[in-house]
C-alpha cells in the first residue's frame, strides 16, 4: 500500500535551535549526510565532527547537543521509538551518544524531524516545545529545580496531554558528570553526563508532539521484513521469554554464576546474596507489570511497586550498581534508590560505581567517611548531595575517575576513558573486555555486547577465555551497533535478528539499496569518524586500556584465576580495523570509507 501523503525520512528536517539568541530554523536533511550516515548516532557524530572546534569545554556554549532519530523511527520496525542524544561528553571528553526508549523518539519523527540541534546557551531556564511544524522556546523557571517526574507532569500540563517530555533533574541543572536525561519519568539517556550538557545550556526539557504520518520508501518490502522480524523475536528464547518475564534483571543470576558480577567495586566477581537481588526475586516481590517502549514487542522494562508507590525499573545494571557493586543486598532499597536517581536525573551505573569506589577508599583508609560496603545508611541522602553538588556529593558527582585521582588512588576507579564500567567483570570475558577498552565512549557494555556469544551462547557459544578471533567479533558488533544506532533501534533485537534483517528493514525504510555488508560499512564509517574525533581531542592508544585491577586474577567464583588480556588482543584489533600500530585510521582506510582526510 503506497502512502503518498506521508513524509519520507529523507524529507525530514533538522531543527537548529540557538539557545543564545533564541533563533530557530529548519533545514532539509542534507542528502549526503543521510546517504552516508543514515541518521541517529551517525548523523549526530558527523555534525559534531564537522562543527565542533577541538578542545572545547563540553559544558560551554560551544558544545552542541543533538537529539536525533532515524529512518526506522515511528515506522512499523519493532522498537523504532527510541532517540539518541549526541554531544561531547563532560565526563569523558570524547564524542558521546546516549540512548533512551520510551515514546519521545516517535513524536520527534512524527513532527517531521530527523534531529533537533541545540547550540549556544540560554541565560535563563527554558524548554523547547515542538508541536508539529511549530517550535517555541519557553520559560522553564517554574520547573527549574524540580525533579524529573514533577517536571514531566507540569510540562505536559502546559503543552499537550499527548506530548512526550525528555528533561533533566537537579543533577543536570548542577552540571554533574553523572547527569542523565530522563524521558517518560524513568527511561534514561543515562551515560556520559549528557544531562549536564543540557543543564549547561539552561535547557530543562524538550517537549514534543508530532502527528504526521512517517512514510517509508517501500511499504511492501518493509511489511515483509517486519513480519519476519517479529516472527524471529517470537521464536527467540531471550526476546520471547527471559526478557518479557524477568526484564534485564534476569542477568543477575546468570552473570553471578559466571563469577563476573562485580562486587565491592570489582574486588570480587561473585555476590553471595545475588539471589536476593535477582530478577526472579524482583518478579516475586516488587514487579507490577512489564513496560514496553514504543513499538516494542519484547517489553524488557519493569514497573515496580515499592512502599505504596509505582516506580519505573530497576534494570539489571541499576540493580548491580546500587546493589552488589556497593555490597548492598536490600532489593527494596535498591528499587527505591533507583527511583531516586530517576527523579534526580542521575545515571545509575555511574553513581553506583562511583559510590562503590568511595566505599573502597574508605575501606583502604584513603577517605574518612561513614560510607561502608553493604550499608545503605545515608546513601539516599548522599545521592541527593551528588545531584545538588553539595559536600562530598560534589566530589562524587565528578565521577569515579576524577574522584579517585583527587585522593591519589586513580587505580581504584573502575572506568575506561572516564566512563564507569558496567556490570560485567572483564576478567571473565576476553572479547567483552576488548570491547570496553576500545569503546569510543569509554566503559560501555553496549558497543559490542559479547556477553551474548561469550556467556549466553547467542547466536553461538564461543569460549570466553580465548583471545583468538575476539578482535574480529568485537569489530563486527561495534560496526553493527553503530549502524543500529543510526536506524535507531533497540540493542535487544540483536538476540533475534542478524545483520541481514537490519539491512532489509533499513533498505525498505529508505529506498537505499543496503545489504548486510553495506550496513556494516556504514557502521565502520561512523566508528572511524568517532575515532578521529577522539584523536583530535587527544585520545589514543594509551586510552584503549582497562584499570590495572583487571590484570590481577579474581580469587574465587566462576571466573577465578582469570585476567583480561588486552595487550594480546589490541594489536590484532588495530590491524583488523585497518589502523596503524598507534591506533590511528590509515589514509587508505579513510578513503575506502569515504571519510575526508584532514591533516
Amino acid at each position: 500500500m503506497s502512502d503518498t501523503s506521508s513524509q519520507q525520512y529523507a524529507d525530514a528536517e533538522l531543527l537548529y535551535v540557538s539557545l543564545t539568541d533564541g533563533t530557530i530554523r529548519r533545514q532539509p536533511l542534507p542528502d549526503d549526510l543521510y546517504r552516508k550516515y543514515l541518521g541517529g548516532r551517525g548523523l549526530g557524530v558527523k555534525l559534531l565532527y564537522d562543527n565542533l572546534a577541538p578542545g572545547i569545554d563540553a559544558l560551554s556554549p560551544d558544545n552542541w547537543l543533538i537529539f536525533a532519530v532515524g529512518p526506522s523511527t515511528a515506522t512499523s520496525v519493532p522498537t523504532g521509538g527510541r532517540f539518541v542524544v549526541i554531544t561531547k561528553s563532560p565526563a569523558t571528553g570524547t564524542v558521546f551518544d546516549a540512548h533512551a526508549g520510551g515514546y519521545l523518539g516517535a513524536q520527534l519523527r512524527r513532527a517531521g524531524l530527523a534531529a533537533v540541534i541545540f547550540t549556544g546557551a540560554s541565560k535563563s531556564p527554558v524548554y523547547l516545545w515542538i508541536n508539529d511544524d511549530q517550535a517555541e522556546i519557553r520559560d522553564a523557571t517554574k520547573v527549574w529545580g524540580k525533579t524529573t517526574d514533577v517536571t514531566t507532569d507540569q510540562l505536559i500540563k502546559e503543552t499537550d496531554e499527548k506530548a512526550q517530555v525528555a528533561c533533566i533533574g537537579p543533577a543536570g541543572e548542577n552540571m554533574i558528570n553523572l547527569a542523565a536525561i530522563i524521558t517518560d519519568k524513568h527511561r534514561a539517556a543515562g551515560r556520559g553526563g549528557v544531562g549536564a550538557v543540557m543543564g549547561s545550556k539552561k535547557l530543562k526539557a524538550l517537549v514534543v508532539r508530532g502527528t504526521k504520518n512517517p512514510g517509508v520508501a517501500n511499504p511492501e518490502r518493509l511489511r515483509e521484513a517486519v513480519e519476519r522480524a517479529r516472527r524471529l523475536i517470537k521464536k527467540n528464547p531471550v526476546t520471547d521469554k527471559s526478557l518479557p518475564v524477568y526484564g534485564t534483571p534476569v542477568l543477575v543470576s546468570v552473570i553471578n554464576e559466571a563469577g563476573m558480577l562485580p562486587t565491592y567495586n570489582f574486588q570480587e566477581g561473585t555476590f553471595n546474596d545475588a539471589d536476593g537481588v535477582s530478577g526472579e526475586k524482583l518478579l516475586e516481590r516488587f514487579s507490577l507489570k512489564p513496560y514496553n517502549c514504543y513499538g516494542c514487542p519484547i517489553g524488557c522494562g519493569r514497573m515496580s511497586r515499592v512502599q505504596g508507590r509505582d516506580v519505573g525499573g530497576p534494570e539489571f545494571e541499576s540493580i548491580w550498581a546500587l546493589g552488589p557493586q556497593c555490597g548492598i543486598n536490600d532489593l527494596e532499597w535498591i528499587v527505591t534508590a533507583n527511583d531516586k536517581c530517576n527523579q534526580l536525573g542521575i545515571d545509575t551505573i555511574s553513581v553506583g560505581s562511583t559510590l562503590g569506589c568511595a566505599m573502597e577508599l574508605v575501606q583502604k583508609g584513603k577517605l574518612e567517611h561513614s560510607l561502608r560496603f553493604g550499608d545503605t545508611t545515608g546513601i539516599l541522602e548522599m545521592i541527593e548531595d551528588i545531584a545538588h553538588a553539595q559536600g562530598l556529593g560534589k566530589e562524587l558527582g565528578k565521577g569515579s575517575k576524577v574522584f579517585a585521582e583527587s585522593y591519589g588512588v586513580p587505580e581504584l576507579a573502575m572506568q575506561v576513558k572516564g566512563l564507569e564500567i558496567p556490570a560485567y567483570d572483564p576478567r571473565g570475558v576476553q572479547g567483552h573486555a576488548l570491547g570496553y577498552a576500545t569503546s569510543n565512549r569509554g566503559g560501555c557494555h553496549l558497543r559490542s555486547y559479547l556477553i551474548g556469544p561469550e556467556i549466553m551462547g547467542s547466536p553461538v557459544l564461543v569460549d570466553r577465555d580465548i583471545t583468538d578471533g575476539k578482535a574480529d567479533l568485537v569489530i563486527l558488533f561495534q560496526n553493527l551497533s553503530a549502524a543500529m544506532d543510526c536506524m535507531v533501534v533497540c540493542r535487544f533485537t540483536n538476540f533475534a535478528w542478524t545483520v541481514d534483517d537490519y539491512a532489509a528493514m533499513v533498505s525498505a525504510n529508505t529506498g537505499l539499496e543496503i545489504d548486510g555488508n553495506e550496513l556494516l560499512r556504514i557502521g565502520a564509517r561512523i566508528w572511524n569518524l568517532e575515532r578521529l574525533f577522539n584523536i583530535r581531542e587527544g585520545f589514543g592508544k594509551k586510552d584503549d586500556t582497562l584499570p590495572p585491577r583487571f590484570s590481577t586474577p579474581l580469587r574465587e567464583g566462576g571466573s577465578r584465576k582469570r585476567v583480561a588480556h588486552i595487550d594480546v588482543m589490541l594489536p590484532e584489533y588495530y590491524a583488523q580495523r585497518g589502523w596503524d600500530k598507534d591506533g590511528r585510521p590509515t589514509d587508505s582506510l579513510l578513503k575506502s570509507l569515504d571519510i575526508p582526510i584532514e591533516r
Binding site: L232, V460, L461, D463, G469, K470, V499, D500, K561
Partner: protein, 273 residues
C-alpha cells in the same frame, strides 16, 4: 562456510515431541518446515495424519517416533505403531532401541525388535535411536552393528529425553561403526549452528532439533565472521563432561568419568563453564 544456509536446512528434522504440543503447534511446525525446506518434521504418532495432510505434495517428510521415549515396549507394539503411522502418512520412523536388552547382551532380541519395525515400515525409512547416554562405547558400536544387520536405514544418537544429548564424539563413533551406507542422525540438545556443524563434521547427515529456526537464522551470522567456529575447550563437547549420576546407571556414569583420568586434554578440565 562449508554449507549454504539452504544445505544446512536440508539436514534438519524439525522436531516437536513435547507432551503438551497442541495441534496449532504442529501446524506451525509444518508451516515452518515448508518455509525453510527442512528435511522432515519429527512428531509424535498422534499428529502424523494431520501433519501428512498439511505437508502433502511437498518435499518435507513426516517422521514419527516409535516406542518413544523409552524403547521398552513390546516389539509387536512397536511394529503395530509403525504400521499405523505409515498408514497415516509417515515417511520415516524413529524407533527407540530396546536399551535394556542391549545392556543384557540379548542381541537376538535387540535385532528382532528392529527387524519387526523394519518389516512393518513398508517404504518408510527406519532410524534407530540408541540413547547413547545409557551406553558405553562398546555397546554403542554393537548397537550400530545390530541396526545394520536388521536393515535399518539410520542410527540416531538420542531421544532428547534421556541422560545425554548428541556429541561429536558419539557421532564419529557411530559413523565409523555403520560406514557410509547408513545414515547417522544426531539429536538431543542441539541448539546452535555451531553445534550442528560440529556434528555434521563428525559424520551426521541428519540433525534432529526443536531449534531449527534459530539454527538456520543464526547461521546467517557465519558469513560475517569466521570466529564463531573457533575451537572450543575439548571438555565442552565431551560426553564425559555431560555424564550425570542421577540419570545414568552407576557403572555407565563411572565409565564416562574414568575416561577423564586418562584423557590427553585433562589439564583443561579445570573450570566450570
Amino acid at each position: 562456510m562449508v554449507l549454504t544456509v539452504e544445505e544446512l536446512a536440508q539436514t534438519i528434522d524439525h522436531t516437536e515431541l513435547k507432551a503438551d504440543a497442541k495441534q496449532s503447534k504442529i501446524k506451525q511446525l509444518c508451516e515452518e518446515a515448508l518455509s525453510y525446506n527442512f528435511a522432515a518434521v519429527c512428531i509424535n504418532a498422534v499428529h502424523v495424519e494431520y501433519a501428512a495432510e498439511l505437508l502433502k505434495d511437498s518435499a518435507v517428510k513426516v517422521c514419527s517416533v516409535i516406542g518413544f521415549p523409552l524403547g521398552a515396549t513390546l516389539s509387536e507394539v512397536k511394529a503395530a505403531e509403525t504400521r499405523e503411522v505409515v498408514k497415516r502418512g509417515a515417511h520415516e520412523v524413529d524407533m527407540v532401541i530396546n536399551v535394556g536388552a542391549l545392556r543384557d547382551e540379548n542381541y537376538d532380541l535387540v535385532r528382532s525388535d528392529i527387524e519387526a519395525v523394519v518389516a512393518a515400515s513398508s517404504d518408510a525409512h527406519v532410524k534407530v535411536i540408541l540413547e547413547t547416554g545409557l551406553l558405553i562405547d562398546d555397546q554403542k558400536r554393537k548397537a550400530c552393528y545390530l541396526c545394520k544387520e536388521a536393515g535399518a536405514d539410520f542410527v540416531k544418537t538420542s531421544t532428547g529425553f534421556g541422560p545425554m544429548g548428541a556429541t561429536p564424539y558419539d557421532v564419529r563413533l557411530m559413523r565409523e561403526a555403520v560406514g557410509e551406507s547408513m545414515g547417522v542422525k544426531a539429536a538431543g540438545g542441539i541448539r546452535t549452528f555451531k553445534e550442528a556443524l560440529r556434528l555434521i563434521d563428525a559424520g551426521a547427515n541428519r540433525i534432529g532439533t526443536s531449534s531449527g529456526i534459530g539454527i538456520i537464522e543464526d547461521y546467517r551470522w557465519a558469513q560475517y565472521s569466521d570466529s564463531w567456529m573457533q575451537p572450543d575447550k575439548p571438555c565442552w563437547t565431551c560426553p564425559s563432561r555431560m555424564a550425570n549420576i542421577a540419570k545414568q546407571p552407576k557403572e555407565v556414569y563411572l565409565w564416562y568419568k574414568q575416561r577423564c583420568l586418562t584423557c590427553p586434554d585433562k589439564d583443561q578440565n579445570v573450570f566450570t563453564d
